[in-house]
């Protein structure tokens, strides 16, 4: 039986290592902030101008060429401007303008919506370190571009690389938070590698960095109409996020009481009535972690209290509902446990992967002496998940490169829904995506592919066939390849883990089946001895009466979206020796 609490750290947004570039050697500790002007802000144009290509007069000085390119940018001829800057960069005679040309190229690429290409050029500036006069501005642009990506992993990997550098004040809190998160990840990796003392120092560093995030970071509400303009801050409450990281570190260090206090603080900070930035996702996660800590400590009613606080339909709601079933089971509230499982196994979530829910359901029926039902559930479970196990076994034992796992994901997406094999594969791939890291890697790969395909494809042929485009495409392909390899490796690990888990569950199902058979045999022997049918079941009292605030809707096999999570399954029969329940 999987412990819900064991998933606590897994769910805590672990980033991909390769993408993060987690360095397990001792990190530099310099993080002094430096005053610097914020980057020039602007709104990328929705479309691009089709002004004729005029790359500036060759042979002019760097200053004139830069001015000419800037004018193109001002006129929103971004593609032409990008090519003009690239041409400057390719002329050794204009070396004194190269730094500015590269910086301006970043801005133009960003305005074209080529975020990863802009990051490629930003990396080139940052590689030069403090030697570049655009170094600090480039750091600010990393944040700006990072905000426009689907997830923060590309940003996190860069922040980790720049860990020793001083950061612009406007981004200081976010920088500290990201670095704290990075140190937490590093600590986890070291912990897993058995390097406990190094892990501890990494955790300490994470807490130190998190504690330096100012309470004001996230205090002011961002106006809803923030639009496209880059804000110096960020969405969400950075301070609350830092407290969350603090809670994770404390939990990883074994201080569950301290962790619970940190998560409670996150809950208080993210209360919508507080005049702070709204961060419902973080609030939901804090409730989930609090519930898990209480569950782990067998404080089931507290756990249920926090599970119930998770917003209906939120990102982790289904996971919470599943875990709450165990808490309800532990306190003997079988009706609610089975009700939650009804939601989980509804057609809405048929592609979600909760194999253990069948085992729990079978156990509940078994404990209520409902042996035929328990057996039927286990048979359903075996019928459904033995092919999944076989497929997982075949997948993970097949000699194939890690990248093949990503091809499988794509294949599964493309095959028609009617194909049972495709449905099975989709289920397995969905399982892989329950790992946040894989999901984020896949998102990043998708973004790069979109940039290489759709975004660049929409630009003018002059740009698409230019040396600049080829250079950027080459870099993006490299990045994509690295991400695919990392994603494939992680997918393989995840599938191997789930294969072993599923093997365990199948074995558990078999044990319960044997136990069910034993009970049935005992009953049969009893009937042979007494000459009459033994009575092991009796009718349970129940009532459909509900409080004035509720309405009773009987479940008749039809699922209504807004009923999800509210089901309570009425057990009408139970063990004869089960204590009489009061009608409720």
């Amino acid at each position: 039986m999987r412990l819900a609490a064991a998933a606590l750290l897994l769910a805590a947004a672990l980033p991909a290592r390769a993408q993060l570039g987690i360095d397990l050697s001792a990190p530099p500790k310099k993080d002094k902030p430096a005053e610097k002007k914020p980057p020039q802000q602007g709104t990328p144009a929705p479309g691009v101008s089709l002004r004729p290509l005029d790359l500036g007069k060759k042979g002019s000085g760097a200053k004139e060429r830069l001015e000419a390119a800037k004018r193109l940018g001002d006129d929103k001829a971004y593609e032409t401007a990008a090519l003009a800057y690239d041409q400057i960069l390719r002329e050794p005679a204009l070396a004194d303008g190269h730094e500015e040309a590269r910086y301006q190229l970043v801005k133009v690429l960003e305005r074209l919506g080529l975020h990863y290409s802009a990051l490629v050029e930003l990396d080139r500036i940052l590689e030069r370190g403090q030697g570049s006069k655009y170094f600090h501005t480039a750091m600010e642009w990393v944040f700006y571009v990072g905000k426009r990506l689907k997830n923060e992993q590309p940003l996190l990997s860069r922040v980790a690389r720049l860990a020793g550098e001083s950061f612009p004040p406007a981004y200081q809190d976010r920088y500290l938070y990201l670095l704290a998160k990075y140190q937490f990840e590093r600590g986890r990796a070291l912990q897993e590698a058995g390097r406990a003392s190094e892990a501890r120092s990494s955790f300490d560093e994470a807490r130190r960095l998190a504690s330096r995030v100012r309470k004001e970071a996230g205090a002011a509400a961002i106006p809803a109409s923030a639009g496209d303009l880059p804000a110096a801050g960020e969405e969400g409450d950075t301070y609350a996020k830092a407290r969350f990281v603090d809670g994770l570190v404390l939990y990883a260090e074994g201080d569950q009481a301290g962790a619970a206090e940190s998560f409670k603080e996150v809950v208080r900070l993210t209360n919508p009535k507080r005049n702070r930035r709204v961060d419902p996702a973080l609030r939901e996660l804090a409730f989930l972690q609090l519930a898990r800590i209480h569950y782990e400590n067998r404080q089931n009613r507290y756990a249920i209290f926090y599970y119930d606080k998770m917003p209906w339909g939120g990102e982790s709601w289904l996971e919470g509902l599943w875990e709450a079933s165990y808490a309800h089971y532990r306190i003997g509230d079988y009706e609610k446990a089975l009700g939650n499982l009804l939601t989980l196994q509804s057609p809405y979530f048929k592609e979600e992967y909760f194999p253990e829910s069948y085992i729990l359901k079978a156990i509940i029926y078994y404990e209520n002496c409902r042996y035929p039902e328990s057996r039927a559930i286990l048979e359903d479970f075996s019928g459904m998940f033995e092919p999944v196990y076989d497929e997982l076994q075949a997948l993970t034992t097949r000699a194939q490169p890690a990248t093949a796992f990503f091809d499988l994901i794509e294949e599964a997406e493309k095959r028609p829904d009617t194909d049972p094999q495709a449905r099975l594969m989709r289920k397995i791939m969905k399982l892989a995506f329950t790992d946040e890291n894989i999901k984020r890697l896949s998102e990043s790969i998708g973004e790069i592919e979109d940039e290489l395909g759709r975004k660049m494809g929409a630009l003018r042929p002059e740009f698409r066939h230019s040396a600049l485009a080829k250079d950027l495409q080459g870099k993006l392909q490299e990045e994509r390849k690295a991400l695919v390899e990392e994603g494939g490796r992680r997918a393989r690990q995840k599938l191997e883990y789930e294969r072993d888990q599923l093997r365990g569950l199948l074995a558990q199902a078999l044990r319960i089946k044997i136990e069910v058979s034993r009970k049935e045999r005992e009953a049969l022997e009893g009937s042979l001895a007494t000459g009459s049918q033994p009575e092991i079941l009796r009718d349970l009292k129940f009532s459909t009466a509900v409080s004035d605030e509720h309405l009773y809707w009987p479940y008749e096999g039809e699922y209504w979206r807004d009923e999800l999570g509210t089901y309570a399954y009425t057990l009408t029969k139970g063990c004869k020796d089960r204590p009489q329940r009061a009608a409720r």
Binding site: P347, T544, L551, W560, R561, D562, L564
Partner: protein, 246 residues
């Protein structure tokens, strides 16, 4: 159990129906799963791919001169949960309403005679028509917290062939001429509801406005007639069980 309102329905195709429906019968409140999952899954009562045969009774509502008592039959095929095509045949008797009084200027009021009634339109005998039904709403109703009634709501309309007694001129009527049966092409629009009892049986309640044109000699013109009917019927679906969804 939950704490949602007693009447809940889904507006599967909202644009058209939304305007015509009361707020309570609209889709349940916007939720976190909206746009991600279907409002209803494993729908208990399904119509798609099934034939519906209805035996019904019709009663006219607003005719000042004749109350019509019709019996009818409808046969329809449901292309989907939302769209169906039906054919209908209904006929029966018409009786004088209680409000048919004639009040001449120089005499007291008296009930209209048979001759008087031959001068007025509305003596419909038979209606045959086709109908397209659009059923955007499927809902359920909590009945005293004890049971659930599933229903759907429809907009309906289609062309009709309407047979009625010819309207006579005053002279022909007073001469005792018997009106002949004439017919017109018209159309109807209406609202309908089904309350499902089982997968095979449903109660149908409809209100239709039949519109046709008839010659009215006393008015010296061809007049547009509106005949409002209410209808109640019992539907049987074939096959008796829901079609298996792919």
């Amino acid at each position: 159990m939950n704490h949602f309102p007693a009447l809940r329905a889904l507006a599967a195709v909202a644009a058209l129906a939304g305007a015509a429906l009361p707020a309570a019968a609209r889709a349940s409140k916007a939720d976190a799963f909206e746009g991600k999952v279907q409002p209803v899954s494993g729908q208990l009562y399904q119509k798609a791919g099934r034939v519906e045969v209805t035996l019904d009774g019709l009663l006219s509502l607003n005719d000042a001169f004749f109350t019509k008592y019709f019996a009818g039959v409808q046969v329809g095929y449901h292309f989907s949960e939302f769209l169906s095509l039906h054919g209908q045949l209904a006929g029966g008797a018409s009786a004088k309403t209680g409000s048919t009084e004639v009040c001449p200027a120089n005499a007291g009021c008296h009930p209209a005679s048979a001759a008087d009634l031959r001068e007025v339109p509305g003596h419909v005998n038979l209606i045959a028509g086709a109908e397209l039904q659009f059923s955007p709403v499927y809902g359920k109703l909590n009945v005293f917290s004890e049971g659930v009634a599933h229903f759907d709501l429809s907009l309906l309309g289609g062309p009709d062939w309407i047979r009625y007694d010819q309207v006579l001129s005053a002279s022909d009527a007073s001469a005792g001429k018997t009106p002949s049966a004439v017919s017109s092409l018209g159309f109807h629009l209406g609202l309908g509801a089904r309350i499902f009892f089982s997968e095979a049986l449903a109660l149908r309640i409809e209100v239709r406005d039949y519109v046709y044109r008839a010659d009215v000699p006393s008015m010296q013109k061809r007049e547009t007639q509106n005949q409002l009917f209410t209808e109640i019927g019992l539907s049987v679906f074939f096959p008796f069980r829901n079609r298996t969804q792919p």
